[in-house]
Amino acid sequence: MPPETVLQLRDVSKDFATQRAVADVSLDIPRGAFFSLLGPSGCGKTTILRMIAGFETPTSGEVWLNGQRIDPLPPYQRNVNTVFQSYALFPHLTVQGNVEFGLRRNRVAEAEKRVREVLQQVRLEAKASRRPSELSGGERQRVALARAIVLQPDVLLLDEPLSALDPQLRKQVRGELRDLQRRVGVTFLFVTHDQEEALSMSDQIAVMNAGALEQVGTPREVYARPRTRFVADFLGAMNWIDGIGVRPEAVSICPQGRKAVVTGVTYLGSFCHVAMTLVNGEDGGETIHAQVASGDAFTAGQAVCVTWNREDEVRV
C-alpha cells in the first residue's frame, strides 16, 4: 500500500440474501483528498461506506487503512468516523455532549479544548448547551460533522450528508464542507447520488453502477472523458448521435452544419434548452439537445443548423 494512499479496498464484494450489492470493487483513496462515491440509489455506494465503517462485513476482499487491515475489526476499533445521512445525533445529549461522546479516553482538559476548537470551526460555540431537537437542519448537520472530526479520523465517511437539507442551503453547505475539508486536512469519502455535488466538491470521483465501479478520475475526466455510456449519461445530459456522445452545451446552433428542426424550447433563466430533430441523411429523426444563451430566440418548427467541435465528442 503506497504511503500516499490512506484507504484501500481490495476486490471487495458484498452479497445480501437476494443480491450482490458490491462486486469486486478495488479503490485507492489518496491521503487528504476529497473523494466522492457517486452513483444512483441502490448502486452499492452506501454499502461500501458501511463496510469501511465496520457496520457490514465484506463477503470477500479486504479493507486496508494506513497499512493495517481493518475489515475484521469492530467499528469502535477503526480510526474512521461517519457522518450519517440522518445525522444520528444523540437526542438525550446536548451539542457539547454529542461532540464529547467519542473523547471519553482523553484527559478532560484536552477534551474540552478540542470540543471548543471544533465547535468554533463549525460556528456552533453559542449553541453548545442546546439539544439536537432545538437546532435547525443545517446546525444538526454541523454537529454531526463536529462530532466526527473532533476525533481526527484517518478518513471521514459522509453518507449523503446534504440530502436532508433544503436545496437553498445545500448549495451553500457544499462550499462550507469543501473549505472545512481543506482546513482540517482530513480525507473525506463522500457518498452522493447528486452529480453536481460530486463535480463541484471532489478532487476525485468514483462512479458506481449496479455494485461495480464504472470509472475513477477527477471531475473533469469523468465529465469530459467518460469511459462508459453509463458514466456519460449519469454525469449530465448527453446527445448520442451515431454512437458518439455530445454534451448539449457543446452543441451550437449556427448558419452552417447539420440541418435540424426545433421541436421545443425551455427557458431556464441564464440559458435556454432547445430540443431539435435532425432532418437529413442517415441521422434523420434523431433528437438532439442544445444549451444556448437565453438571449437567442428560437421557436418550435424553426429550421436551424447544428454543429459541434470534434474535440467535444465522447466515444465510449
Binding site: P74, S86, A88, F90, R104, R105
Partner: protein, 274 residues
Amino acid sequence: MRLRNAFLAPTAILMAVTMLAPLAIIVVYSLLTRGAYGGVELPWTLENFTRLWDPVYGVIFVRSFWIAAVSTALCLILGFPLAMFIARSGPRKNLYLSLVILPFWTSFLIRTYAWMFLLRDTGIVNSALQGLGIIREPLALLYNDGVVILGLVYGFLPFMVLPLYATLERLDPSLLEAAADLGARPRDTLVRVTLPLCAPGIRAGAILVFVPCLGTYLTSDLLGGSKTVLIGNLVQNQFTASRDWPFGAALSLALMAIAMILLFAARRRGEELL
C-alpha cells in the same frame, strides 16, 4: 365536540362509579368506628389513622415495599435482555410477544396454585430431587419471602417486558451505530445510549410492576403463607377475620398515599407519568 362528549360520557360515568364511589366509601369508612360483627358504626373518629403508627404495621409496610422493590428490580434485570432480544428479532417479534402474553390466557390464581404444586414438600421439584437421591428430606421451598418474590416476578414480568419492548423497538438503530462509530464498546453503548433513551420505558415498566406488587395479597397468601404478611394480606384480614373495616380502610388509604408519593417522586420534571 358534542360527538366527542357523547363517546366520552360512558367512560366518564363508568370511571366515576367504579373508581370514585368506592374510594369515597373507603374514606368515609376509615373515619368511622368498627361494628361488633363487621361493618361500621358512628361516631366519627381519627383513631384508625393513629393506630397506623404502631411499629407492628410499620414492619409490614417496610417488608411490603422491600418485596415490591426487589421484585421490580428483578423484573427489570430479567426483562431488559428479553425485551431487547424481541425488539431485534425481526419478523419473529410478534411470535415472541404472544409468548410473553401467553400466561394471561390462564387465571393468575390457577397459575399461582401451579407454583404451589411444583414447590410444596410433596411437589414435583422435591419429589424429583428426592428421586434422584440429591436430597433426603424435602426442601422448604414454600412459605418464605423468596418464593413470594419468585411468584411476583413470574406474574408481573410481562408488564415490564412490554413497555421496555415498546421503547427499544422505537430506538433508532443508527444511534447505536453512531456510538460504535465514535469508539464506544457495546457495554458503553448500552450505558451511555440505550439505557438513557429507554428511561421512559423503564419508568413505565417499573410503575406497572411495583404498584401491583405493593398491593398483592394472593401471591403472598398462597406462596408466603402466614409467615409473609404483606399490606395486602393485612387489609384483607381487617375485612375478614378481624372484622375491623374502618382500620382496613385506613390501611388501604395509607398504602395508596405512599404509592402516589413515590410515583410523583419517580416522575421527572416536565414529563408525563407513563
